[in-house]
């Protein structure tokens, strides 16, 4: 068997059996060369094949990722969910910060967990040519013991939230018009007090337990949302 085929099969099996998490980051092409002791061309051929198989995606300047199950298009096609009218294929995720912190009374109340249980609090930005989205995500550690922040770079939030210990069943979306605070105005490059849309997504499982919360904020005058219903 040719070298690149061996490499291809090895990577494919690691992806299929979950050793490389969906949406997770893979060693870079340079690192793969070293690990497998093969040439750059061999690595490139194997990766090209995996990309063609839709098992891997290449993100220029960021790295190689295992392809997530869901694409933004899948989500866009779901009825009953509010979604941005022109989803951008070309976007970049910038992680601003991530903390593992105590739930404290407010989130303890919202998630129905104890005050001192731990929670991932992630703050990030989704930037495309046409719009900027400020996002926050709260994930109780208990439900997401293996949370890998890199998956946020390529994986739709719905899939990230569904990759924890519990399966997502329902989504409650809260939609508000608010005024930009000083911090938000700075990040979105708009005037303080400008209108923003704030969408709060609460994901819950079959026991009606909220398992994750996502907040999205963007310039209200620049974006349009659509929802289908029947």
């Amino acid at each position: 068997m040719t070298l690149f085929k061996t490499l291809y099969l090895d990577l494919a099996s690691k992806i299929d059996n979950g050793e490389y998490q969906k949406g997770g980051v893979l060693p870079s092409e340079g690192e793969l060369q070293k690990i497998y002791q093969v040439s750059r061309t061999t690595v490139r051929k194997a990766v090209d094949l995996l990309v063609a198989d839709k098992k891997i995606i290449r993100r220029k300047g960021i790295g190689l990722f295992v392809a997530p199950s869901m694409s933004n298009q899948t989500i866009f096609d779901m009825a009953g969910i509010i979604k941005q009218t022109d989803i951008n294929k070309e976007y970049k995720i910038f992680i601003r910060d991530i903390f593992l912190r105590k739930a404290n009374p407010f989130f303890a109340d919202v998630f129905d967990i104890n005050d001192d249980e731990l929670l991932y609090a992630v703050s990030f930005m989704n930037q495309s040519k046409t719009s900027t989205l400020l996002e926050k995500l709260w994930l109780p550690l208990d439900y997401f013991p293996d949370f890998d922040i890199n998956t946020l770079k390529v994986t739709p939030i719905l899939e990230v939230v569904n990759s924890g210990k519990l399966d997502v069943q329902d989504l409650y979306q809260d939609f508000q018009l608010i005024e930009a605070s000083e911090e938000e105005a700075k990040l979105l490059d708009i005037a303080i007090g400008s209108p923003l849309f704030k969408i709060t997504n609460m994901f819950s499982d079959s026991d009606k337990q909220i398992i994750a919360i996502e907040v999205k904020i963007q310039d209200a005058l620049k974006v349009k949302y659509t929802i289908d219903f029947n």
Partner: protein
């Protein structure tokens, strides 16, 4: 942390309820008043609290509307002293952006303008377009305090079965702000809905302008990944 403390007070409180003073909150949480002030400002930007000099800080619970339903806004707010003022109904030429929806052959369309009030305060200004060929004399119907959907059902035996909505925002223009009695450039929701009856028949198109200060919307999607689970069950 201060913000979360106040959010919890808001969550458990009622509309119009006063919050503890800045000083009391600062003392209780052992933080500076500046910190408390900053948190309050952020929550005010979100419309969660209002600050009036004499009354102090009050919780503002925005009216929460479930838009994922075929009921009109009037059904949603039933029993809340909602009145509908029917301003005008007339025939106009079909706007360019609606030619696809209503069909190319249509030349003129009925345009119905209404304002909804809650306790005498205007909160929604809406413009509905509907085909008078299909719904004859609809421009003659008096829609004061009447749900259009009820009229469609009872007088025309038509019930919309599906549709979609676009939600965006704008700053109040002169005409709209006059109807909604808001300051110039107040941010408003624009909810544009397209509704269809069976066999893809277009029923009506409505553009609705709503105050952001008073409303928030929610959508509940159940069993969103149901189709995936079914697919996986087959693969065993």
């Amino acid at each position: 942390m201060v913000e979360e403390y106040i959010r919890l007070l808001i969550k458990n409180g009622e509309d119009g309820q006063g919050l503890p003073s800045q000083r009391d909150i600062a003392e209780k949480l052992e933080v500076s008043r500046t910190t408390v002030k900053s948190a309050l400002l952020h929550l005010q930007n979100e419309g969660q609290i209002t600050s009036q000099s004499r009354r102090g800080i009050q919780i503002n619970k925005k009216k929460d509307v479930n838009l994922l339903s075929m009921s009109s806004l009037s059904d949603e707010l039933a029993g809340e002293n909602i009145t509908i003022e029917h301003m005008d109904s007339r025939l106009v030429s079909v706007p360019k952006n609606l030619r696809d929806f209503f069909g190319d052959s249509l030349k003129n369309i009925a345009e119905i303008k209404r304002i909804r009030y809650r306790n005498g305060v205007p909160f929604s200004y809406e413009i509905t377009n509907i085909d008078e060929n299909k719904f004859s004399d609809i421009t003659q119907v008096n829609l004061t305090n009447k749900s259009l959907y009820r009229v469609l059902k009872e007088s025309y035996n038509t019930v919309p079965v599906y549709g979609f909505e676009n939600i965006s925002a704008t700053l109040a223009t002169d005409e709209i702000r006059m109807h909604l009695d808001v300051a110039e450039k107040t941010p408003l929701y624009i909810v544009e809905s397209f509704n269809f009856a069976k066999s893809d028949q277009p029923v009506e198109h409505t553009v609705q302008y709503l105050s952001g200060e008073n409303f928030k919307y929610h959508f509940m999607a159940k069993d969103i990944l149901g189709y995936q689970k079914e697919a996986n069950d087959d693969i065993v």
